[in-house]
């Protein structure tokens, strides 16, 4: 009994840094931000309780709808596209190729670079006149979009750039692929399975937990997308959010409201709407996961 007590106390002692940090830096701010969402607050005078006014204003706020549109547009295309590219690259690397490490390094490298530097580099790559991407498209006689200079090509610019940074996902897929037991493939071959069937019935179910993890992280990442939006939008449009706010991502809108205009109450309300959207999407993926995520030994 005494031993048990001692163990529990020691346990709490070890986790105490996180416990304190959780209360002060996460739980506290989490609750505070919920409360602030019902106030008007500019940091200089005390928060004024205004009930649901912030949330009513959100519904009529053009910037809110624009930021929601931009963010969904980006997420719907970039997350599946990036996951697909990452998976294909991982499958290629898993083919027992020579120079595998070299290829892996090349694909992974961009993912570790500072997002500010990456965004500035792509700003230049995507320059409609002097950038290298349009030069290539021109050589191939393909249309050369104006990228960040036109509203309709602003979000696609971010999507194109995101493909360059799929390295981390590729590494997780590769690790997942390497964990698939060889015996499963051998059994599939004996059964006469084609390459496609092997992929569909062996590879995909076996790496579905990794896909699930990446999908959740990808969604959260897409909905908190900020740095690149800030850095690349800075040169375009009056508010630094692209021409006609075409690059007004949700997190960028929160930043502008909270830290440029000092509408901290309103920014908190926006943040809570974001929280619910992300929560809803995450729950949806979790709920659906029983249909498509395979955990070894669970079914069969």
């Amino acid at each position: 009994m005494k031993m048990k007590h001692r163990e529990a106390l020691l346990g709490y002692a070890y986790i105490s840094p996180w416990l304190i940090g959780f209360v002060v830096l996460t739980l506290g701010p989490f609750v505070a931000s919920f409360y602030l969402g019902f106030t008007q607050y500019n940091l200089l005078t005390a928060p004024k309780f205004i009930g649901l006014q912030n949330y009513i204003h959100i519904l009529k706020d053009h910037d809110f709808w624009q930021s929601l549109y931009v963010t969904f547009y980006y997420a719907i295309f970039s997350v599946p596209l990036d996951l697909l590219v990452a998976l294909v690259l991982a499958i290629l690397l898993n083919q027992k190729v020579r120079f595998m490490r070299l290829f892996r390094t090349i694909f992974y490298l961009p993912a570790i670079l500072p997002p500010v530097a990456v965004a500035i580099l792509w700003n230049w790559i995507l320059n409609p006149q002097y950038g290298i991407l349009n030069r290539f498209l021109g050589i191939l006689h393909l249309p050369q979009p104006q990228w960040l200079v036109t509203p309709q090509w602003t979000v696609p610019s971010f999507i194109v750039m995101s493909v360059w940074g799929v390295g981390t996902w590729m590494i997780t897929f590769l690790a997942g692929l390497q964990d698939v037991p060889r015996s499963l493939y051998e059994a599939a071959v004996i059964d006469g399975a084609s390459v496609w069937k092997k992929f569909w019935y062996v590879t995909l179910p076996m790496i579905s937990p990794v896909l699930f993890f990446n999908l959740i992280m990808g969604l959260i990442g897409a909905f908190s997308y900020f740095t690149q939006a800030f850095v690349m939008g800075a040169g375009y449009g009056g508010r630094g959010a692209g021409i006609n706010n075409a690059g007004l991502f949700y997190a960028l809108n929160i930043y502008i409201q909270g830290f440029t205009e000092l509408n901290m109450g309103y920014a908190s309300a926006l943040a809570w709407v974001l929280f619910f959207i992300v929560l809803l999407l995450t729950l949806l993926v979790f709920k659906s996961s029983s249909l498509w995520v395979y955990y070894g030994g669970e079914k069969e």
């Binding site: 048990k4 163990e7 529990a8 346990g11 709490y12 070890y14 986790i15 840094p17 996180w18 304190i20 940090g21 830096l25 996460t26 506290g28 701010p29 505070a32 931000s33 290629l92 690397l93 027992k96 190729v97 020579r98 290829f103 892996r104 694909f107 992974y108 570790i112 670079l113 500072p114 997002p115 500010v116 530097a117 500035i120 580099l121 230049w124 790559i125 950038g131 290298i132 030069r135 021109g138 590494i171 997780t172 690790a175 997942g176 051998e186 071959v189 990794v210 909905f223 908190s224 800075a234 040169g235 949700y250 997190a251 930043y255 909270g258 901290m264 908190s268 943040a271 974001l274 995450t282």
Partner: protein, 295 residues
């Protein structure tokens, strides 16, 4: 044909009879072509970055753009780096990153060990809570955290960018806990029997066994702090306190048409991460592998 190739064929043969050999060879060719093609696509931005950084102000605006500069302007680097106090920015970035590494490694090791080894009421729920915090978009916490640090008088200091690291980070705690779980408890029990206390056992027996994981945490937190933009943007106003990322972003705003200088500054800001990556690639990959697949 090299012996290695032959071996591959020998392996492939029993699996795929007759026509398989040609099929395998063609599909391997396709795999290599795809890999090489994609590699080139992934490398071009780097090449374009470096070549742009070396062009003169006239050559950067040649239409259609050319690859190689006629005059290699090595002076661009010097010009870019002295235009803003980059040495000061670098120093600030290094201070922030190093303190973050220390804070995260120490606090996360303790917390992860607590979750991995001790039984206490609420352990399961608290660990679930820890994992759940990873799913809160940080925008939700941003405003109240800012108010908190503002009330503490920490705005425009490095404190909001360093102190939180000492309270652990869910992602690294998770990573380290996975490692601790693989250590057989008998090792610690033996040390305890020899009279070592819990802390001593932790430092002398357990930690040396998880050095690779600690290295991964150190690298990730360095990368996180070094690459961070949002927090410095919010908390630092005084240019003498800026980090490299803030400085680079400001550089782009100030020199918005001098792309050769902007690219030169970008190269320099990328360099430290590249050096660390090549020095410690193994730990990057192991760390990601562990969190991605064992989740």
């Amino acid at each position: 044909m090299t012996p290695q190739r032959l071996k591959l064929h020998a392996k492939a043969l029993p699996m795929k009879p007759s026509s398989g050999r040609v099929g395998t060879r063609v599909s391997r060719l396709v795999v290599y072509l795809l890999l090489i093609g994609t590699s080139i696509c992934f490398l071009i931005p780097f090449v374009w970055l470096i070549l742009s950084a070396l062009k003169s102000s006239d050559e950067i605006f040649v239409f259609p753009p050319v690859w190689l500069p006629k005059h290699w302007e090595w002076g661009n680097f010097g010009k870019a780096l002295t235009a803003l106090p980059f040495a000061r920015y670098a120093l600030n970035s290094i201070i922030i990153a190093v303190v973050n590494v220390i804070g995260n490694v120490v606090s996360c090791a303790f917390v992860a060990y607590g979750f991995a080894r001790f039984r206490f009421p609420g352990r399961r729920i608290l660990f679930m809570v820890l994992l759940a915090t990873m799913m809160i978009p940080n925008q939700v916490l941003l405003v109240p955290q800012f108010i908190l640090f503002h009330d503490l008088g920490w705005i425009n200091t490095l404190l909001p960018l360093t102190v939180p690291a000492f309270f652990g980070s869910a992602f690294y705690v998770f990573l380290l806990r996975q490692f601790f779980m693989t250590i057989p408890p008998e090792l610690e029990e033996a040390a305890m029997l020899d009279g070592a206390g819990s802390l001593r056992t932790f430092f002398t027996v357990v930690l040396p066994l998880v050095k690779p994981a600690l290295t991964a945490v150190a690298i990730f937190s360095f990368q996180g702090a070094w690459n961070d933009f949002l927090a410095p943007l919010i908390y630092l106003n005084d240019p003498s306190k800026f980090t490299l990322q803030l400085g680079l972003s400001q550089f782009q705003g100030t020199f918005h048409t001098e792309w050769n200088l902007i690219m030169a500054a970008t190269v320099v800001v990328m360099l430290p991460m590249l050096v660390i990556f090549f020095a410690a690639q193994r730990y990057f990959i192991e760390g990601i592998t562990l969190t991605g697949t064992k989740g």
